[in-house]
């Protein structure tokens, strides 16, 4: 179960996320900074809602278990096209 892949872009598995929560991480942003979950090419489109659900299940603090702030760009864009 710990080897279940949560973030494909950064190769982060459930075990690493549970470990971060064990080490007092209580927010999506906090787990992201500790494990790189959601930092990759798709910017957490798939993994962040899963992460939010894991947090709600484990610590129930829905206010903290928010996905990260949306930032430009909406989807990857070559630097030369900007």
């Amino acid at each position: 179960m710990d080897n279940t892949l949560i973030c494909r872009c950064e190769g982060v598995c459930l075990g690493a996320i549970l470990k971060a929560i064990d080490e007092c991480s209580t927010s999506v942003q906090g787990i992201k900074k500790r494990t790189r979950v959601g930092m990759g090419y798709c910017q957490g489109r798939t993994c962040q809602p899963i992460l939010r659900d894991i947090l709600r299940e484990l610590i129930g603090q829905s206010e903290l278990a928010q996905t990260q702030k949306s930032q430009a760009p909406v989807r990857p864009i070559p630097l030369g096209k900007l």
Binding site: C24, T26, Q29, K33, K69, Q71, P76, P78, L79, G80
Partner: protein
């Protein structure tokens, strides 16, 4: 009874202060309203750059700090992604060359090993660099570190030495008694201590306010672009000459209202961090398409091969600016037991170890073998009315 010290703010400065205090015979309590590296230290680049500092007290401190970084991974027993790969400032034209030549001369006199190399030598170090770059400065003492990993590692090492940590715990105000700080009122209750150290950067005035104090630290907004992972492109830190020229000529604000300049680094995972902007806009987190385009253009001008590299994210950080570009370090003159370590602007990563070391010495009453006068809060007292 053991001396007890509360450190407020768990960014790279606060965690460093807490770590160096934890090496003394002191009870340390680290408090943050949010999380470790959740503010400025989680929204910055990774440079330990010496040659971006003008000669003077900041450069002297940065050089000492850079020496401390060399042993930090071993000391903290953590991988901090430290690289001592050097750094260069790209020179695009004669104007920049003249400004940087003088600056390099001053820095050399201050003991920094920095030189000017020709364009071809710069391209030997970074082969993809544009043929339009006519020269560059080169300093092999420049280095890089992951500020997130460093903050977490400081906190972990301090916790292993019995530091207590309260995250998601907001300090509401400082508790003062008879001209002395005796503790803090927090959302988790009151905590009492012998000393309080404010390491909360751009948010420091929120707490000083409760004592009718204020320091001239204001947020300077900086935007950074993140690209997809690419194979190793950069072999060192990169700054654009125009960035330094605009930093020196603050009067050019009208010409460059967003303070656009180029700074680049590549993370261990392969992403490029490309800065950026320097702008006074209070705590506004919006990112305009103008800034994104302007910074992207700077990057593709310097490295034309990046035209097809994807931008995947951008973020905003608030750097704690002070009017003389030096941090405030040391005791608050009017309140006994209260200390400040804030206002490092863009130098927080570079100056974190030395700041932690100095504050730990000062708070525990030891003598520091460095002149702290330029950093003392006193320098703002005349120009400030309380």
């Amino acid at each position: 009874m053991k001396q007890k010290v509360i450190v407020i703010g768990a960014g790279i400065i606060g965690t460093s202060v807490a770590y160096y205090l934890s090496q003394k015979d002191v009870n340390v309590v680290l408090i943050d309203a949010n999380d470790i590296a959740a503010g400025t230290s989680g929204a910055c680049d990774k440079a330990i750059m010496l040659q971006s500092k003008k000669s003077g007290p900041n450069l002297q401190f940065a050089m000492k700090s850079a020496e401390m970084y060399k042993d930090l991974e071993e000391e903290l027993e953590q991988d901090l992604e430290y690289e001592n790969g050097g750094g260069m400032i790209l020179i695009n034209n004669e104007v920049e060359l003249n400004v940087l030549r003088e600056r390099v001369e001053n820095q050399r006199e201050a003991g920094l090993n920095v030189t000017i190399i020709c364009g071809d030598e710069a391209r030997k170090i970074n082969p993809q660099l544009s043929p339009k770059i006519i020269a560059a400065t080169w300093c092999e003492q420049d280095a890089e570190i992951n500020p997130l990993k460093t903050s977490f590692a400081f906190a972990k090492a301090a916790s292993n030495r019995s530091m207590t940590m309260h995250l998601n715990c907001r300090v509401l105000n400082l508790i003062e008694d008879n001209g002395r700080v005796i503790g803090v009122k927090t959302t988790n209750g009151d905590i009492y201590a012998d000393n309080v150290v404010l390491c909360c950067g751009v948010w420091v005035n929120n707490l000083l306010k409760s004592l009718q104090l204020e320091v001239p630290i204001i947020p300077r907004k900086g935007v950074i672009l993140v690209t997809e992972k690419i194979p190793k492109l950069l072999n060192c830190n990169i700054l654009g000459g125009s960035y330094i020229v605009s930093k020196l000529q603050e009067a050019s604000v009208e010409k460059n209202p967003f303070g656009i300049g180029l700074s680049m680094g590549q993370t261990k995972s392969g992403n490029l961090l490309i800065g950026g902007s320097r702008e006074f806009a209070s705590f506004d987190t919006s990112i305009s398409s103008f800034v994104l385009t302007a910074v992207a253009n700077k990057a593709t001008e310097a490295f034309p091969c990046l035209k097809n590299t994807n931008l995947i994210r951008s973020f905003v950080g608030f750097r704690p600016f002070t009017p003389d570009n030096l941090p405030i370090l040391g005791e608050v003159p009017t309140v006994r037991g209260l200390y400040i370590a804030a206002g490092h602007e863009g130098d927080g990563v570079a100056l974190a170890p030395i700041t932690g070391h100095i504050i730990a010495e000062v708070v525990t009453g030891q003598t520091v073998d460095m002149d702290l006068t330029p950093f003392h809060m006193n320098r703002f007292l005349q120009s400030f009315t309380y």
